[in-house]
Amino acid sequence: MNDVLLRELIPAVTAVLVRRGVDFATAEDAVQDALVRALTTWPDDAPRDPKAWLITTAWRKFLDTARSDGARHAREIRIASEPPPGPTDDTGDTLDLYFLCAHPSLSPPAAVALTLRAVGGLTTRQIAEAYLVPEATMAQRISRAKRTISDVRLDTPGDLATVLRVLYLVFNEGYSGEIDLAEEAIRLARQLAAMTDEPEVSGLLALMLLHHARRAARTTPSGSLVPLAQQDRTQWDTEAIAEGVAILQTALARDRLGEYQAQAAIAALHADAQQASQTDWVQIVEWYDELLRITDSPVVRLNRAVAVGEADGAQAGLVALEQVELTVPRRTAVQAYLRERAGEVNSAAHLYAEAARAATNLAERDHLTRQAARLNALLH
């Protein structure tokens, strides 16, 4: 049994304990314990029924904890001696866990950590490694998150928008580590899409698939960023694109547009172009207009200016850029790009250097520095 299959069992196992009356935080701890044990013992001695093994192991762990904690858990001990309930609804319970772990009372990073552990079935060590913090720090972040939601009842209807936001963050801002967070986000979005009937969930899944399809082309072997226009499109994953487009079309047909569907539509239009020069920028601008109507986000306005620059020329792009507040990150980089396209090489070189100084990530800073150096070499 591979680790992904093991992870898929985790939310259902937690749900079994919760159904038996254990509070979520305690149940989740017990399951984490069983998970860590499974990862060490299964490679040599895999159980015939992995889910039953996890339930039994987590249950014993809970009983041990409850006994050692004494009276505080007396009530739970009583529950433990009662027979487990009959048939269960795994789907509904797993969905409840998504809602709980992405509860609006949690900060986004707390929700991300808790979702990865309780729904994703990752260990604290794996999550800590993925976000480059010590395991003890991540453990604290998770237990604080659990305390924050300790009064939330699992039967309260959840907020799907915050769940989608959390999965988007896992996909978009994940670091690299032993666990591929982009793939983990896709797995969780896929699982969520199977349990819900909401076009925006499909929209998010499509968006992830369409961007993930470009992964191999996005960086050089040495790790430098390759801008979309210069990517080797033969390296794009056509299977992921086909799946993303199909999911998106089904969602769009339901005529309940949302921000993730609109973003996915833009990604699909890029995927549709065999070469960068064949990109349908006019239609992309129209989708940005839709997106602006939905979100009115400054980042969308910035990206729209890039698209306008491609559709109607650099000058038009620069005019569109005037609508974007000066404080929006990456605005200077976009301005540099459009100025160069407008033939203002000197100004573009300065702006690229300025954008590099303000960059918040290493790959982008290096990319902008290269652009500034390239233009300065032309000027000298």
Binding site: L132, P134, T137, F171, E173, H270, A359, T360, E364
Partner: protein
């Protein structure tokens, strides 16, 4: 979350707000209280899930550079008086820039002689991240 580097300088940076001297001139219990504050601060950040790492550097350091093929590196220093000298650093992982400022302010209030805050200047630097996947 965003990571920030909190840099503590032995020397350098803006003019000190108060002159608290060097630690070797403080009373032993004042020195101990100062160190304890640092430990408590790190422990608190661990419990809030915001601590990444902290290190202290020795007071003396040497500048080193390459000196051409086949030649040993050239060293310069240690110097008794340099313009700037890093004392140590702490890396934190926080929700916002405002939170980073708040924590830096708190660390700067470490006690000095007489138990008063030393109002120490700390340098706050954002750490570069991985690039986001979706940028269009």
């Amino acid at each position: 979350m965003a990571k920030y580097l909190l840099l503590k300088h032995y020397r350098g940076g803006p003019t000190p707000y108060v002159d608290f001297g060097t630690l070797d001139q403080w009373k032993p219990e004042e020195v101990e209280a100062h160190f304890q504050y640092m430990r408590d601060f790190a422990a608190k950040l661990e419990s809030t899930g915001e601590f990444v790492e902290g290190l202290a550097a020795a007071q003396e350091g040497t500048f080193v550079r390459y000196d051409g093929p086949g030649r040993p590196p050239v060293t310069d220093g240690p110097f008794a008086e340099t313009k700037d000298l890093i004392a140590g650093w702490m890396v934190i992982d926080v929700d916002s820039y405002e939170r980073a400022l708040e924590l830096a302010g708190e660390l700067s209030a470490a006690p000095g002689p007489g138990g008063d805050p030393i109002y120490e200047w700390l340098e706050l630097r954002p750490v570069l991240t991985e690039p986001p996947t979706v940028t269009e």
